[in-house]
């Protein structure tokens, strides 16, 4: 995805229209990441809201050319979602997230979400090997560092990286097939 540097800079100068455009471009993906962590529609929507308010208030802390804007956004979103998992409300809802990954959304308790979203994710899940699902889940959705992820998977760092390369390549092929 082309990074809209022009829009980012306009947003940094306080342009609300540019902020709205950026929201349009990224909110779906950010919501997916947060939902993969929280598994709760209502909480997810709250956190998406918080994240974009943070983006608007702190957008000057991103520097074009220093890292991807999406990665910057991703970090804010994952941190906000993980923060929320530590809240009292969330703990009371008795979720055992450690053993779940984004694929579990398919078997989620939320019937509505199943109907609405399952088809979208299923086509990706079917294209990915289980090991790829784990790697992508850890590195992308859960925000593990490579060391943490390697430890979780009992594999050396180098292997983790090449696996990540291969798995995301599969994903890319699937995306390409879809758009062609």
């Amino acid at each position: 995805m082309n990074q809209p540097n022009h829009l980012i800079q306009k947003m940094q100068q306080g342009d609300e229209k540019a902020f709205a455009d950026i929201y349009q471009m990224y909110s779906g993906a950010i919501q997916g990441v947060i939902y993969a962590i929280l598994r709760d529609r209502e909480l997810t929507e709250e956190v998406v809201q918080d994240v974009f308010v943070k983006v608007w208030n702190n957008c000057s802390s991103y520097t074009v050319g220093k890292g991807r804007f999406y990665t910057w956004l991703l970090n804010i979103a994952r941190n906000a979602a993980i923060d929320r998992t530590r809240s009292k409300d969330f703990k009371n809802s008795n979720k055992n997230l450690a053993t779940e990954n984004f694929v579990d959304i398919l078997s989620g308790h939320d019937n509505l979400s199943k109907k609405m979203d399952a088809l979208g994710i299923r086509k990706f899940v079917e294209a990915l090997k289980p090991i790829c699902i784990q790697i992508i889940d850890l590195l992308y959705f859960k925000g593990f560092t490579q060391v943490e992820a390697a430890k979780e998977m009992n594999s050396p760092l180098g292997t983790l990286k090449t696996r990540a390369r291969n798995c995301i390549n599969e994903l890319r092929n699937k995306v390409k097939d879809d758009t062609v």
Partner: protein, 261 residues
């Protein structure tokens, strides 16, 4: 690392997911600077991950954006209002400062004027005090004179035919041949006229002029000194044309009194 090695390493994937160490991140950014077409590779990685998570989360409800607008619109005007407020405060302070400055300058001017006025008044008062000091000294001197034993007091009652209310007192010092005329009891002479003082011998009647009470009106004390007095038997005062006369005009005799033998 060559371009192909970088692509094959998996560094770019972890760059997008934000899983690299700081050194590795710098390494990737350095590689991007050398091979700018790596950006399109990164963009495809990013796009695939974005598509995946979009499929995971589904459609974002409109209420989310409404909530964001509510919060950001709340913050934006507050910051602008804050800015305005501080600038208004600044201008108000500046204007107050200027007003204060002008007020103080005006006050300063007024005070200077007052000071000058006071100084002038002070000087006038000083002059008056000096003048009064002089007058007091003169008065004291006169008092001494009239009290002293060397002076004889001669009362000159007014001439009933001319000026019945008039009276004059003469303090006469025979030894020194001087006299002081207290003319307080005489009316102010008409314009062009002057009182003339005479020393008289009675047998035969021989008047000798001993002086004019010139500047009668302006002499506050109405006390006049006359000298070189031929031994008198009486003193008389007549009203004469300005400059005085050789001999007294008797129908204008205002006061007359004899010296006690």
């Amino acid at each position: 690392m060559t371009r192909e090695e970088i692509i094959a390493s998996g560094l770019l994937e972890l760059y997008v997911t934000g899983s690299l160490t700081q050194e590795e991140t710098l390494l990737v950014e350095d590689a991007i600077a050398r091979y700018p077409d790596l950006v399109s590779e990164i963009e495809q990685i990013e796009l695939s991950l974005i598509k995946l998570s979009e499929a995971t989360g589904g459609r974002v409800p409109d209420s989310v954006w409404t909530g964001i607008k509510e919060q950001t619109e709340k913050t934006i005007p507050i910051t602008t209002r804050k800015r305005n407020w501080s600038s208004i405060t600044g201008w108000a302070a500046a204007i107050l400062c200027f007003l204060g400055l002008f007020w103080m300058m005006k006050n300063n001017g007024d005070l200077k004027e007052q000071l000058e006025e006071s100084t002038t008044q002070n000087e006038l008062l000083k002059e008056q005090i000096e003048l009064q000091g002089v007058e007091l000294a003169e008065t004291n001197q006169l008092l001494q004179i009239v009290r002293s034993r060397d002076f004889e007091t001669v009362n000159l009652p007014g001439n009933v035919a001319v000026s019945p209310d008039a009276y004059v007192t003469v303090y006469y010092n025979e030894a020194e041949d001087i006299a002081y005329i207290d003319a307080q009891g005489l009316p102010t002479p008409p314009k062009g006229k002057v009182y003339q003082v005479w020393s008289l011998k009675l047998e035969p009647l021989t008047p000798s002029s001993i002086g004019l009470l010139s500047d009668f009106e302006t002499t506050e004390s109405k006390f006049f000194k006359v000298e070189n007095i031929p031994t008198p038997e009486a003193f008389g005062i007549t009203l004469e044309p300005e400059g005085g006369s050789e001999s007294p005009t008797l129908d204008q005799l205002y006061a007359l009194g004899t010296v006690a033998p």
